[in-house]
């Protein structure tokens, strides 16, 4: 067999070198992330690859005075594949991204080592100090496999250490080997060797260094076969999937409620404290309303994100998610999306932020981009108050019709997402998806430690984003709606002084007058602010949707966050900012009048607004997260233009049709 000609083999031993940078590579499902978490724990951070949008995790592993910096590269099946993750590994190992790493750690699944050895050959050929970790050695032993690490090390020319990332077995030996490793010297197949030649060489290594056999056909396999058949069955598999996802989201909603309320209260107290400490003026408004209020509106979703990623990591660890991807692939592939896209789209029903962040489950870049682009179409919880208000206006007293309308909003969002994905995959993201071939990892007990570390990492990434890009956007939006300061209208001053006089004799009436004065003040502020001026300017744009100036300002302010629409309308109609009861808001808005005396909402306006709020992109934090996950402002800009454009067209159509059908 053609091979490198090296006349000796050595298991290296050189003095310890502190501060080595180690690139961690391996096939998917070899326990690479578990090993990384075992070595680094919380001493890890997520960063972008230089010049790229892909993320890598960098961790520190300290043992005594020895330090390793470990870079966790994406799981790959081959170094030479024309796939982004393979390119990234090549670029990293060849020093095209940053400096060439000091050493390579190749993780191999001890229960099925052939593919891992093939990857190790490609790594060793880089002539960098290399160590091979035979992971899941405990599992291999339980399955009746045994191996001689020294013999395998002799054949590969690099140290081989049997470990278990899950239990921590062999970690000290592994770290020692990484500190002392030097480039391998062994007779390896040349890159030009044919597959058969390479495979024969690998089979030889396995035959010489491994013993026993994995008991194929055992009762374990029989159980796995039955589970696979059930989980991928067209009907039973779908039923199991619906059940699992139901439990997942029920858990998120049940568990996230309390910490979300706590965060709300905490920020409210914090804002109150800042308001007490700071003198009245622009700085106080900026800190209390702009910074604290803006950050609170985003950070409140942190519990949902933490719980979602914790549960997804557990599910992935059990081996179930790979099977579920096939169940949903039957449906999703008709729209150009892979089965894995279902989880992000379902997660977006809670909130688009975790939904978009979980799109990293989708392996193919174009599939992932398409998923991210359309995920915000799914009706999130922030839309619910608007649905309640507008459906209440449309179908007051008809709970059945209201129920159907509610379901229709969800269906409209889902249909828009799937059709948009179909269009995107045939226009801006053309090309075939990656072939649907997945390794089905063995079923196993999930690691809680691993899930905690994964969700912690995602939470930190989200907080970093909330504290930078989202905070900046929120401050700009707050400034646009708060400045220039409008003078208090004279009629509001008059109402206030009248209210003060009546406070002792008729407190209820005095309160009403105060509320009316507040409405006038807010109206003046909204009209006079930059956002209001933009609203005036933009009103003709929203006129085909049936919106007057008040509704236009409401729509524009809701681009900060959809739920603002309801509170804005309530406040503008004199309810005051403390009106949060659905019935009170509904009554206020139903009775609201335009300057010409016509109702603010008629059937056509309410229907068109409902369609607009189902489809439009009105969430700045979502745009910021899309930018972060795609690495470019191009995609959030496209997402905004497509969703809002589609919303405008369909809303205008609905307004025209309903107006025509209701006008006598």
């Amino acid at each position: 067999m053609p091979a490198h000609v090296n006349d000796h083999v050595s298991t290296p031993s050189s003095p310890p070198v502190p501060g080595r940078q180690v690139a961690l590579i391996g096939n998917p499902n070899t326990g690479k992330t578990t090993l990384f978490n075992r070595l680094c724990g919380l001493r890890a951070r997520t960063a972008n690859y230089p010049g790229s949008t892909a993320e890598m995790r960098i961790g520190r592993c300290d043992r005594g005075d020895q330090r390793l910096e470990i870079v966790d590269l994406p799981g790959i099946y081959g170094m030479d594949l024309d796939l982004p993750e393979s390119r990234m590994c090549r670029d990293c190992l060849d020093g095209r991204l940053e400096e060439t790493p000091d050493a390579i750690l190749v993780v191999i699944d001890a229960t099925a080592p052939a593919r891992g050895i093939s990857l190790a050959i490609a790594a060793i050929a880089r002539r960098l100090p290399t160590v091979v970790a035979l992971n899941m050695a405990d599992l291999a032993a339980r399955r009746g496999l045994s191996f001689d690490e020294a013999k395998m090390a002799t054949k590969l020319g690099v140290p081989v250490v049997a470990i278990s990332g899950r239990t921590g077995r062999g970690m000290d030996s592994l770290v020692d080997a990484l500190h002392t490793a030097i480039p391998g010297h062994a007779v390896l197949p040349l890159p030009s060797a044919t597959n058969l030649e390479r495979r024969a060489w690998i089979d030889g290594v396995i035959a010489e260094s491994m013993g026993g056999h994995d008991a194929v056909g055992s009762s374990r396999d029989s159980v796995f076969d039955r589970l696979d058949k059930a989980f991928t069955h067209p009907i039973l598999g779908l039923a199991v999937f619906v059940g699992v996802m139901g439990v997942l989201f029920w858990t998120i909603f049940s568990l996230a409620g309390v910490p979300m309320d706590l965060i709300d209260v905490l920020f409210e107290k914090f804002g109150g404290l800042a308001a007490d400490v700071l003198p009245a003026g622009s700085v106080r408004d900026l800190v209390v309303d702009g910074i604290i209020g803006g950050v609170a509106g985003t950070v409140v979703f942190l519990p949902q994100i933490l719980i979602l990623f914790f549960l997804l990591a557990l599910l992935e660890d059990t081996g179930y998610l790979a099977r579920a991807a096939f169940v949903m692939d039957r449906v999703m592939c008709r729209f150009g999306l892979p089965g894995q896209a279902f989880v992000p789209m379902l997660s977006s029903h809670a909130c688009a932020l975790p939904g978009i962040m979980s799109a990293r489950l989708v392996p193919d870049r174009d599939d992932r981009l398409a998923t991210i682009l359309v995920a915000p179409f799914m009706s999130c919880t922030a839309r619910l108050p608007v649905y309640v208000l507008l459906i209440g206006l449309l179908f007051d007293g008809s709970p059945w019709l209201a129920g159907f309308a509610f379901a229709g909003c969800y269906l409209l969002g889902a249909a828009a997402a799937l059709i948009s994905a179909f269009i995107a995959r045939r226009t801006i993201l053309p090309g075939r998806s990656r072939p649907m071939v997945l390794e089905l990892p063995a079923y196993r007990r999930p690691s809680i430690r691993n899930a905690v570390l994964v969700s912690w990492d995602r939470g930190m990434v989200f907080l970093k984003n909330a504290g930078t890009v989202i905070l900046g956007i929120v401050i700009v939006m707050w400034w646009l709606s708060a400045y220039p300061r409008a003078e208090t209208p004279e009629n509001a001053i008059a109402l206030r002084s009248e209210a003060a006089n009546m406070m002792a004799t008729a407190p209820a009436e005095a309160e009403n007058l105060e509320a009316e004065a507040e409405r006038l003040e807010l109206n003046a502020q909204q009209s006079g602010s930059f956002a209001g001026q933009i609203g005036n300017f933009a009103q003709p744009l929203f006129a085909p949707l049936g919106a007057d100036r008040t509704l236009t300002v409401g729509i524009l302010t809701s681009f900060l966050a959809r739920e603002v629409f309801v509170s804005s309308l309530a406040v503008l109609q004199g309810g005051g900012s403390d009106v949060d009861d659905d019935e009170s808001v509904l009554k206020l808005v139903r009775d609201a009048k335009r300057p010409d005396g016509s109702p603010l909402f008629n059937t056509a306006t309410a229907a068109s607004m409902l369609v607009f709020f189902v489809l439009a992109m009105q969430c700045l934090p979502t745009l910021a997260v899309t930018r972060r996950e795609t690495g470019s402002w191009k995609w959030p800009a496209l997402q905004f233009a497509w969703m809002t454009g589609l919303a405008w067209i369909l809303s205008a159509l609905v307004f025209a049709v309903v107006t025509a059908s209701t006008t006598p």
Binding site: Y77, G78, L81, D82, L83, T111, A112, A114, R115, S118, A137, A141, R143, S146, F147, D148, E149, K151, A162, N195, L196, R199, I206, A207, E208, S209, M210, G211, G212, H213, D214, V216, G217, D221, F224, D225, D228, K229, T232, P234, A322, R323, F326, D329, R330, C333, R434, P435, M436, V437, L438, E439, L440, A442
Partner: protein, 120 residues
């Protein structure tokens, strides 16, 4: 770690090798004869059989990807499930193959479950 002599994975006892006599016998029972070496789409192979798979009808990208995953042209697999997806086992690793890819992979059955006749 104790070193033991490497043993090749034995075929489970429930699987019998397809031989000429059985093929003749199955033909005489009225089942359609299936000759050893006959290639058929993976989707038409019986579940539980062992087969040599052929990926030469796939496009280059898919073939390269499968090879890197360990599903190589000419390798022997156990077909655990047929349908969408097809589930294959190579040594102890399982792979799910979507219908579209599976329909372009052909296989030569080498042994069937309990020695049952191959479908036509």
């Amino acid at each position: 770690m104790t070193f033991q002599q490497h043993k090749t994975t034995p075929a489970p006892p429930s699987i019998e090798t397809v031989d000429a006599a059985r093929l003749e016998s199955s033909a005489s029972r009225g089942a359609q004869p299936a000759s050893q070496g006959q290639r058929r789409p993976l989707t038409l192979c019986p579940a539980g059989c062992r087969a040599t798979i052929h990926t030469d009808e796939l496009d280059l990208d898919a073939r390269t990807m499968l090879e890197a995953m360990g599903v190589e042209h000419g390798c022997e697999v156990e077909i655990c499930k047929v349908g969408s997806p097809c589930i294959l086992r190579i040594e102890s690793t399982r792979f799910g193959v979507g219908r579209e890819v599976a329909s372009r992979i052909t296989a030569t059955v080498t042994a069937t479950l309990h020695g049952s006749a191959l479908p036509g």
